[in-house]
Symmetry: D2
Subunit: 273 residues, 4 copies
């Protein structure tokens, strides 16, 4: 659960050992958390301010961090490694999701995007997240519960290409194998002017989806891909890291418009004469 201020019983803490190792732990009085650097008495953490340095029984130092939504979604991402923070950031910006937004997501997958969306729409909005695979939803449910975000999500086992129950959605976010097969249902689910965002690894998926969006009276259709490169920063040794993730997927964004009256031209004839 997300917490604030100082450590209380039942909250999650992130125990930071070094740049590569940190542990997400729920604080329970009377429990020990064991690492290869010794154990920590979790009850001792209660009342401590976040940011403080604590010491294991073997004398190793850990830093007591307060987990953010980013930490939760990174833990989810590790399971699947498809969508990346750079993509989540772009999808949030392009979908314009914010507090109060009502969003359909499909599929739930690891729940990382669901976590980011639920975090963004709180407290009055809602994420309706579909997946055909119940086992993914169970894992996502556990992740969302842990992050304290389950109240903002309705997890639904179902195939959005067969139908979407919700109407008047602000946004539909797709991360599934055949997004083009969902365009008509997504249109029905969206409010006028609502936004669809689709994430796909292959270019053929993108071509089919864009074609379906064009035929489905969507406008402002654009497709992008993004790259992210880490920089090793150190006086005299500054350089980008050798290996980078060269591709995760393409992001297509579009907006629902009313049905076109005239297709052959943007001019439909004088309204006044």
């Amino acid at each position: 659960m997300l917490s604030s201020g100082e450590v209380r019983e039942g909250v999650d803490v992130l125990l930071f050992l070094d740049a590569r190792r940190s542990y997400l732990v729920r604080v329970r009085r009377g429990e020990r958390f064991h690492t290869h650097r010794g154990f920590i008495l979790l009850g001792d953490l209660i009342g401590k301010p976040f940011g403080e340095r604590i010491t294991s029984n073997l004398g190793y130092e850990f830093i007591l961090l307060q987990p953010t939504v980013y930490d939760y979604l990174m833990k989810s991402l590790r399971a699947t490694q498809i969508l990346y923070p750079k993509d989540i950031g772009l999808i949030l910006v392009y979908s314009a999701v914010g507090p109060g937004s009502r969003v359909v997501e499909a599929g739930t997958g690891s729940g990382a995007m669901t976590t980011a969306l639920a975090h963004a729409v709180r407290p009055s909005g809602k994420v309706y997240s579909y997946d055909v695979r119940p086992e993914f939803q169970r894992r996502a449910s556990a992740n969302l519960e842990r992050a304290g975000l389950l109240d903002s999500v309705e997890l639904k086992v179902g195939d959005v290409s067969l139908g979407i129950d919700e109407k008047d959605m602000d946004a539909v976010v797709l991360d599934l194998a055949t997004p083009w097969a969902v365009v008509t249902n997504a249109r029905e689910a969206l409010k006028g002017s609502g936004i669809l965002v689709s994430f796909s690894p292959t270019i053929e998926q993108v071509v089919k989806t864009v074609s379906a969006l064009e035929e489905g009276d969507f406008i402002e259709i654009e497709t992008i891909e993004s790259f992210l490169r880490r920089i090793k920063v150190k006086e005299g040794e500054t350089r980008p890291e050798t290996l980078m993730v060269g591709h995760t997927g393409y992001i297509t964004r579009a907006r629902k418009a009313g049905p076109a009256r005239a297709r052959s031209s943007d001019k439909v004839g004088p309204a006044f004469s």
Copy 2:
């Protein structure tokens, strides 16, 4: 102002003509909006659902869209062209800002990042946005007012390298020329475990800032840059666009930890004997 459902008097609408031209207009009964494709009687829009196609007096079709935070921040961005949506998305994800977050931003600049942050922290959070240039704050204020987000922002004329009034902030977001000079004050303003994100165009700014963060007891310090490429998608002609933005700036993220007790080693001596 952000609106929902259908067009009402006093809301903003986005009149979409084609992929390159759309107009952000406030709806006032009795007013005309003039374009090179004829005029639109704004009063006639009241009561219409978003997404609908409307026609100018010359018979040209426009689509009646509901502006999102993305539309507002893109309008702000056009003024300065430094920070890009890709960067805003990454800063949102890395800073973990969400509903209820309390954030210090410096500088306000065009107000684009301010707009995105204010949108994200609503309704209970707050963005304290500093800039030394009153004229930037005036423009940002107008942009935020128009987007209906001014209530979530406190615009402050001031130099954060001289001091930050706020304490216990969830995040500090820096987009200024000398971020390294603000690290100590940002540390004071942040809660323990709070997050600092800095955006800088040059690598020398990054090297100095990372050095200041390391000396200032920040952890999880990482620097990235991102690229975004548009794809022209059309069956048989699909290809990335020729020109792209190759650089906007580097993003550095770090987290406040308590002061280190031992610098030379992560082991501080056995706690129990």
Copy 3:
């Protein structure tokens, strides 16, 4: 014509004014070369060493450079702006073209790739360069003549999808709209183990070409794209340039093998029993 040592009558010189302006000029006694910074008496250049600074009649300084193949191909590239030095470099490396190589190229286009290939195969090799458009070949011929490379090239007006006259080629380099339609003829023209390199702007061209190569008993098939970013280097202001070329084309490389005897498996049955 490429020259060496010092300036002689009839050679080309590159008159460098500043980073954005340099002029490729043939030295003729008695002629003046006029610029907006005054004129230069070309006869005065004869006998001067390359690298020297000379002065126009208005007192502006020019640097007397010796044109390289790079300067000649950049002049050609300016006309079409499709293939870039980064692509030419990769094609040279992947095709393994060098002194003595015999290469078929199609199409000639601006002649930039032809220039680079001719430079590389000198003096004993040959480039057979096809184009269906005589006007392109005329321009390429003039460019190659000027660069002193015409002896290493045979320019041929013709459609390589209808046939290639040459046999036993070391490499075939394709930069045309339908490379897949040339795969069979390229195979006939190549020696065993010879290399085909194809450059295409769209992904659909690549998919069709790779498919034709796979069916045509080519091996080591790989497709890459490359990006090149300029860096503005200045102490304290070092940063990549804002705009970059995000796409020129994809490069596919493959190698001719003999016809497969067994398709379903790499094991064809024991040779000895």
Copy 4:
């Protein structure tokens, strides 16, 4: 040794098993080449045309390829993994090296760049390749001998920051830790208008080198970095590969000019009055 036509005793062949495995082997009558897919009698290869498919004693098929300079340099590159074919291609294009060129290289390193340069300057040109580490030169010598390129190279153990013996070079190619310390000596070694190309992994190396070049009367100074991304091409599954090499090094190119007479302005006063 590079060979042509068909397989002869003493030449190298590349035995291609699949996309990930190929073996560079010298053909000796009476020898067997053993693989995990059985052995091949090398004498049986003599007289066979390149490209042909041959079969191991266990019935596995190999393709008999003729090694190119690219194969040789890739074998060298595997040892160090710093410079990449994309960089070698760019350095070849930027340096304008070709048949007859005289080039100084430092350091020799794995010999991959040396191989590419030697291949390009044959038969009349020469590469003078310096390295302070005799063990690198021994390995490079073996690699160059094998590729049949040793005649075009003079390997020299020495430190180019202390001096370069050669004069009037067409190009100097640097891949060493402190290129800025070599600028003056490189200038002495270059002919007027000659080209210097430097490859460096860190940005601080680049800043120092560019500064030294500016002070050393070089012109046309530019720095670039390049990226290369592999594309997995298959109908319906086409996508860039997930991982890519995000950084190898920056390439700086410059050209030697005569000493500036006037520094403060490009106008040096009227030459005629």
